[in-house]
Symmetry: C2
Subunit: 316 residues, 2 copies
């Protein structure tokens, strides 16, 4: 089963009459400049994280961050959330308190509030967060038009590099930190709601998330690899550990940068703000996603990615 | 750790400024006759259910039912929900389809819609549902006043009897069915929003849930055991299997009946509707919860229940 088929099947089986349901970063219900967005994400021990790799405090912050990112990706402001926590009895009460300390820090940092939830014992720790936000003008995945520019708010691949190093036994590095403490692009998302035609957060990899945005918009794109932001130290780290830089940049997940399509006219306006972003390509009329490096097409299929085919079951 | 302390600690650590947050069946945000309620519940394999005891279809219906019941318990109408599904790869795609078939049946039955969610592999199946509903006049747990009558919409203990028989290896009986297919009291909840002062659903046991309502209201109560509805066949089944009838009726969970406090004046109005309910006691000014049988006090502590002390950690 692939995700796109699965989601398409669900959309058909479960029509949603209150607004926009399954298929974007969040649902959208509302009208006339008052929209409520809701997003729901789960994190499960030994699927999304291993307890030895991340502290309870960081885990709570991360669970909150990835949900806040979904609201930011639609140009909204996150307000409050619900927590469904499955907590293993093998962990101590102290660990549980650390989790709630992290959650409380996240609430202050991102100005969100805990509104309710549920708690249960569990064999494997699981964290389900449902977050509610609002927007005057939600930005959907489906608004990209041929001729739009494609841009990203920052580098991708750093979190994936951190994860690889964690799995190799390393304890600390800026990349491990990027993996453990993702930063949702809240201010950027809000600002972009005034300029962008379509938006998504890069949670599962630049090309995969871009392909979702393009599929929703019914368009294709051409990306110039050399325009994607990559730091010198990231390149050095890739060489040192013999990681494929392109694979990390194009297919590495969990950076939570915002990826957006914007008309050239709006982009010239956005340029006057102080927001940092990088134009990496252009939306095309076809359905193809083409990545070039200095003009030569890249075989992106070698990165486990083949145009609109998605990752196999499991999805994350 | 006991739940009441845990929840009180969370309420203090996580103030909620949008409305009513932690501590009732659902959060409530809104004003002037337009209130949005949100409730979030998790069901985890081998904690809340065993896969051999319930079909995927019934499991989906049950996950939906318990959340809808939370909205009904506040006098609201459930509208749409978000699903966070952790699904074990040892289960087949067919099982997954059965789950969504059940979910779809629940949507039709209770007039709710799936608005979004998340899906992941998991070692143990986990189902997180966050449901959104609305009400013109939410009924909180905290509105009971001394002199109010206490009533319940139907028998309790039947689901717990069903669970005991399931664990003993029985496959089918009306009680097992009551356990596998709980029926949220939607119409009753809506009607009661016009009459009741306080309400809760009986998810964790009559006395435990009553104690929560009383604690939230700052009141006590006197209950007459002989007024709690119990069917003849239930009594016979208890005798046959040597189960303590009182323990099941007073402490058995998952019946999802509504338990409410109502002023005598409103109760005389409610009597004119066709709704079935049973007055089982009265709210008192103290903080004590006293259960009598034909006038003689019952030692309710023997049912694992001691006034305002809650169940130990785990909570469900």
């Amino acid at each position: 089963m692939d995700e796109q088929k699965f989601v398409a099947g669900l959309k058909k089986k479960f029509p949603f009459h209150y607004g926009l349901g399954i298929g974007d970063d969040a649902s959208v219900v509302g009208s006339h400049g008052h929209f409520q967005m809701v997003s729901s994400d789960i994190l499960i021990e030994d699927v999304h994280f291993r307890l030895q790799d991340i502290s309870q405090r960081e885990l709570a912050l991360k669970a909150l961050a990835v949900n806040i990112s979904d609201i930011a990706a639609m140009g909204g402001r996150a307000q409050y959330f619900y927590l469904g926590l499955g907590f293993p009895s093998r962990l101590s009460g102290k660990e549980l308190r650390h989790f709630f300390t992290g959650l409380s820090q996240g609430c202050r940092k991102w100005q969100v509030e805990l509104a309710g939830g549920d708690y249960s014992r569990a064999q494997k720790m699981s964290i389900a967060v449902t977050i509610i936000g609002q927007s005057q003008k939600p930005v959907l995945r489906s608004g990209a038009r041929p001729g739009d520019l494609i841009a990203v708010t920052g580098p991708t691949g750093e979190s994936a590099l951190g994860l690889k190093r964690l799995l190799a036994g390393e304890k600390r590095s800026p990349y491990i930190r990027a993996h453990q403490r993702p930063q949702p692009q809240c201010a950027q998302g809000l600002l972009l709601s005034r300029y962008a035609n379509a938006m998504i957060d890069v949670s599962d990899g630049l090309l995969l998330d871009l392909s979702r945005l393009l599929a929703a918009s019914g368009t294709g794109a051409e990306i110039a690899y050399e325009k994607i932001p990559v730091t010198r130290s990231f390149q050095r780290a890739c060489r040192r550990y013999r990681f494929s830089e392109k694979e990390l940049v194009l297919a590495g997940g969990e950076d939570y940068q915002l990826l957006f399509a914007i008309s050239p006219r709006q982009e010239s306006r956005l340029r006057k703000t102080k927001m940092v972003y990088y134009v990496i390509g252009r939306v095309t009329a076809g359905r193809r996603l083409l990545v070039r490096e200095d003009g030569r097409p890249l075989q992106v299929a070698v990165f486990g990615f083949d145009h609109f085919r998605e990752k196999p079951a499991g999805m994350k």
